[in-house]
Symmetry: C2
């Protein structure tokens, strides 16, 4: 199945998340059945990242957004651990620092965008400024409602400089979130992950859905599309996301970099160095 | 074998790199024989990184230095790919930018040091300012010779803030370097890695050895030790380095973070949320 077509957010259509089944699994029966495909895409992502890094003329930005416990950290761990850490960075966006808060809302995101050859993952992102900020009324509507256009302009700027942008909303059901909260409670090894705000944020679910529905439609562009990934099944989430990333990277037409030197000249230098080495060894 | 004891640079003893055999392999017969141990240490590094990140009260800085083709990139790829990229960063130090060159030599390194919970790898580092800078005479001796003490002070500052520092010099023979240069020439897929400066830098080998010998002795401290890793065998380089990193991380006494919430209170919230969910589902 072509998950890019299947899950992309159409900017010309009203989005109702309730109509997208978070339990779907693209016809795959189980984790075991999907695993070979996941491995194929994750391996390909790593191969293409090596070429991206070697060429250093394009870059990739992956944005992950979701409600709590939907699996942002899981996507990072499962899909990006295979990439070479040289050239791959992950940034988690938290409460802005005082210096960050003193600037426009895109300032801190801009500092973390990928340089040429790099892959950067935003675990949360500048989208929080039209999500949590809206839901909690941290700025008035007159401010956050202007941000969609500002975000589109910002992402256009990055694209014009050779950055491919992919944005994923990991879509789980409230029942699945509750189940994952329960696992954090029941497993002592996960108790530390529990945060005071888990349940109070959950009560704002409808408000978050409303904020996401508007944000996703208004900022899903040809140059920086949003995908809604059914994420109740962690393995299906990994499958769909890895396919979309790998196939987008294929489109970047990454090849081995050209040789930057005169090979004949280097060959001569090599032979001279080898002769000198032999002479030194003979003396030694 | 305890490679920390074996390969640490003693600051009170003259270092002669020529006396350290780069071909040694700690009694292991082959890559295959060493692989289970490498896997064990790399796996342990990843486990401990997860705890380091979760606790966010200490950090780890790994410095990699070597002559060309000695395997810095290989160490990054083999030992750090297993770590969660969320919390693990690698910085490659190149020619300083104009802004970097306008500041003291530690300014750019300082900006890239690990925050609490993070692992950072320096692929090349602030040590270039007593190595390439010295060998090419980019600043006078009166300047670079003062830098050893400045580096020790800087690393002390990081240590006092909870950062463990490990520094590795990957030690290969000139013959092995030449062999690796040859592979880059013979394999079209590696041609692009050839740089104009490979052979001219190689001619400065004795000057680099002299610079390394002085730098390693003068900056191998109890809080930030240098290790000279025999690196002609790539697998032995990976084995020794991974053992040293894993055992140092063991000493950091990383445990599961404490639970930050009142579990009884959270359990009550969970049951309330579950009841509310059931009610909503009943209505639906």
């Amino acid at each position: 199945m072509d998950y890019r077509k299947e899950f992309v957010v159409n900017p010309r259509k009203k989005l109702k998340l309730a109509r997208i089944d978070p339990v779907q699994s693209g016809g795959h029966a189980s984790n075991e059945a999907a695993q070979p495909e996941i491995t194929k895409y994750v391996t390909r992502m790593a191969e293409l990242q090596a070429l991206l890094y070697a060429n250093a003329d394009q870059s990739l930005l992956v944005v992950l957004q979701a409600l709590d416990a939907a699996g942002k950290d899981g996507v990072v761990r499962h899909l990006f651990s295979g990439m070479n850490p040289q050239g791959t960075s992950v940034f988690g966006f938290k409460q802005p620092s005082a210096a960050e808060a003193a600037h426009d809302f895109l300032w801190r995101a801009h500092q973390r965008t990928p340089g040429k050859g790099e892959v950067v993952v935003f675990n949360r992102s500048h989208y929080e400024d039209v999500l949590v900020v809206r839901v909690h009324g941290l700025v008035p509507e007159s401010v956050w409602s202007k941000r969609y256009a500002l975000i589109n302009d910002f992402e256009k700027l990055l694209t014009e400089n050779g950055t491919r942008i992919l944005k994923f909303f990991l879509h789980i059901s409230p029942e699945e979130q509750l189940e994952r909260f329960k696992q954090r409670l029941d497993d002592p090894a996960r108790n530390w992950k529990i945060s005071e705000s888990d349940y109070s944020e959950r009560e704002l679910w409808p408000q978050y859905v409303e904020a996401y529905e508007e944000a996703l439609v208004k900022t899903s562009t040809a140059h920086a599309p949003w995908y809604v990934i059914p994420a109740n099944h962690k393995w299906f989430r990994n499958l769909a996301t890895s396919q979309i990333i790998a196939e987008t990277m294929e489109e970047m037409k990454l090849k081995l970099p050209p040789t930057r030197v005169d090979l004949e000249d280097v060959r001569r230098k090599y032979h001279a160095a080898a002769a000198a080495q032999e002479k030194r060894n003979g003396k030694g």
